[in-house]
Amino acid sequence: MLTDKEREEIHEEMMAYPYPSAVCVDALKIVQRHRGWISDSAVADIASELGMSADAVDGIATFYTRIYRKPVGRNIILVCEGISCMVMGYEPVYKHISAKLGIGFGETTTDERFTLLPVSCLGDCDHAPVMMINDDHYNNLDIKEIDAILEKYV
């Protein structure tokens, strides 16, 4: 079941579109914001709200990179592996974080504090290397600063 808050936010989005299924992507993002990821029951909840089949919603959910169909940690680290960040050294950044947290790309720490994922170019290439943690953007990354950045996320 969708919560009242989720339903309210989805219906607000509907004002911008001519019919309910057009908000499917927005609905997935809204529910994910509240629950962290999109489980099978989240897919079913959205489907019934929008008058769609669960398969149709799942087909859309799995198309988009930023919709998580598996559980993720409380904080998501996205390290840009785009071409400019490669030239400017995202690999040392990745290696540092990976060693510090003991996880590789696609993995979550056992305490569920962090999930580490690669991301394509973040549109800030003149300040490479770049990463995001949740909604926060970090650029001109220096390995020496990374530990302090990670500390901010519990």
Binding site: A16, Y17, P18, S21, A22, V23, C24, V25, D26, L28, K29, G59, I60, F63, Y64, T65, R66, I67, E81, G82, I83, S84, M86, V87, M88, V119, S120, C121, L122, G123, D124, C125, D126, H127, A128, M132, D135, D136, H137
Partner: protein, 423 residues
């Protein structure tokens, strides 16, 4: 030198609110367009200016608008701003979105009026969280000031603008993939024809334009097409946002006359290469553009000239390949992105991209063999223009085909030495 796109942007400070922007004369273009001009007057100016789309394709904007049906059937028409900016090594629209949201909004009002759109969307990259906040605030201000909503400036013109943030997929930047995504579907491209001007968003006539393209409207209606043409150096009018990333002294983004040369952009503005690094190649306009090299440095970076050097302007933001970076690894990085982003509709793209990524990875790992370079060449042809529904695959092969051409010896060294010489 005039800076119509960036004059009101103060890096490091928050963008002008609508009141400040109006006081700075920012909404004069909208006032002029809605009160003194007809939609066809505006389309004529845009056509006469020769303004070409800044999203990478360079299609003439006025011509695109003129494809909208002449007859008004009373139904809704749409304008969609493409702010997806997922092309690797592209970082220009973000600057405009964060720096001067009212410029884009005023441009969208003028464009919507010109094409008869009463609803418009901004389709924006999910990652642009700061821009999202800024645009939401700017839209609310525009509604409060009476520049959006019903009966704008008492002219009877209605316009609503909605912000949609994407869920992340490069395909959504392709205009018909974008329309599918905005309809809540998988963001796969559509067959064309019909073109969006005939059947676009929700089956209605639609124009899709890039952020930078639409930001031209306010100054264009105020100053006219001759003014625009004179801003450029080579007959292609306007200024252009050019950017440089990679091992240069001052990576950055600058608004310069259209047709500024590569040499000026890289050496005068980006300060040239960092000490200890030599320039080997330039990807001039996002990952899906062909390499340019040292001997191309005097090419004016407009839409026509780079084509003679076998490349294209693309998005105008570049990344430099230096001598301490392996060209095979550099190309592998970009092709891996394209392979992951392929939507899988066309066989050459779905099968070809993962194949070349495998070959490039094996070259990097020292397990490449004779014949691999030929596979890359063959696949470059196979995925080229005409064999696929959208431009993803033909774009993806550009850095590979030109990379093999310019750095063939380096590819061969990986095979002969059974290892990457840069490792």
């Amino acid at each position: 030198m005039e800076y119509p796109l960036t004059e009101h942007i103060n890096p490091g400070r928050s963008p002008l609110g609508i009141d400040e922007y109006i006081r700075a004369g920012g909404y004069r273009g909208v006032d002029r367009a809605l009160k003194e001009m007809s939609p066809s007057d505006i389309v004529s100016i845009v056509r006469a200016s020769g303004l070409t789309g800044r999203g990478g394709g360079g299609f003439p904007t006025g011509l695109k608008w003129s494809f909208m049906p002449k007859e008004n059937d009373g139904g809704i028409r749409y304008l969609v701003t493409n702010a997806d900016e997922m092309e690797p090594a592209t970082f220009k629209d973000r600057y405009l979105l964060e720096g001067n949201p009212q410029l884009l909004i005023s441009g969208m009002i003028i464009a919507s009026f010109a094409i008869g759109a009463s609803k418009a969307y901004i389709f924006m990259r999910w990652a642009y969280k700061k821009a999202e906040k800024i645009i939401r605030k700017a839209l609310a201000e525009a509604y409060e000031s009476g520049y959006l909503g019903r009966n704008i400036l008492g002219t009877g013109f209605d316009l609503d603008i909605y912000l949609h943030t994407s869920a992340g997929r490069y395909m959504c930047g392709e205009e018909t993939g974008l329309l599918n995504s905005l309809e809540g579907k998988r963001g796969i491209p559509r067959t064309k024809p019909p073109y969006p001007a005939v059947s676009g968003l929700f089956g209605r006539p639609t124009v899709v334009n890039n952020v930078e393209t639409l930001c031209w409207m306010p100054s264009l209606v105020l100053n006219g097409s001759d003014w625009f043409i004179k801003l450029g150096r080579t007959g292609e009018g306007g200024t252009k946002l050019y950017g440089v990333s990679g091992r240069v002294r001052k990576p950055g983004l600058w608004e310069l006359p259209m047709g500024t040369t590569l040499r000026e952009i890289i050496y005068d503005h980006a300060g040239g290469m960092l000490d200890g690094y030599k320039l080997r190649g330039i990807i001039p306009g996002g990952a899906s553009s062909d390499f340019m090299v040292e001997s191309d440095l005097d090419t004016p970076m407009d839409f026509k000239s780079p084509v003679k050097a076998g490349s294209r302007l693309g998005t105008g933001t570049m990344v430099i390949l230096d001598d301490k970076t392996c060209p095979v690894k550099f190309i592998h990085n970009m092709l891996k992105f394209f392979a992951e982003e392929s939507c899988g509709w066309c066989t050459p793209c779905r099968e070809g991209l993962p194949w070349v990524v495998k070959v490039l990875a094996s070259l990097e790992n020292g397990t490449g063999k004779e014949g691999d370079i030929e596979i890359l060449e063959h696949q470059s042809w196979y995925m080229g223009p005409g064999n696929t529904f959208c431009a993803l695959a033909p774009g993806a092969v550009e850095p590979m085909q030109s990379g093999v051409k310019y750095f063939r010896d380096d590819f061969q060294k990986h095979i002969d030495g059974k290892r990457c010489p840069w490792r």
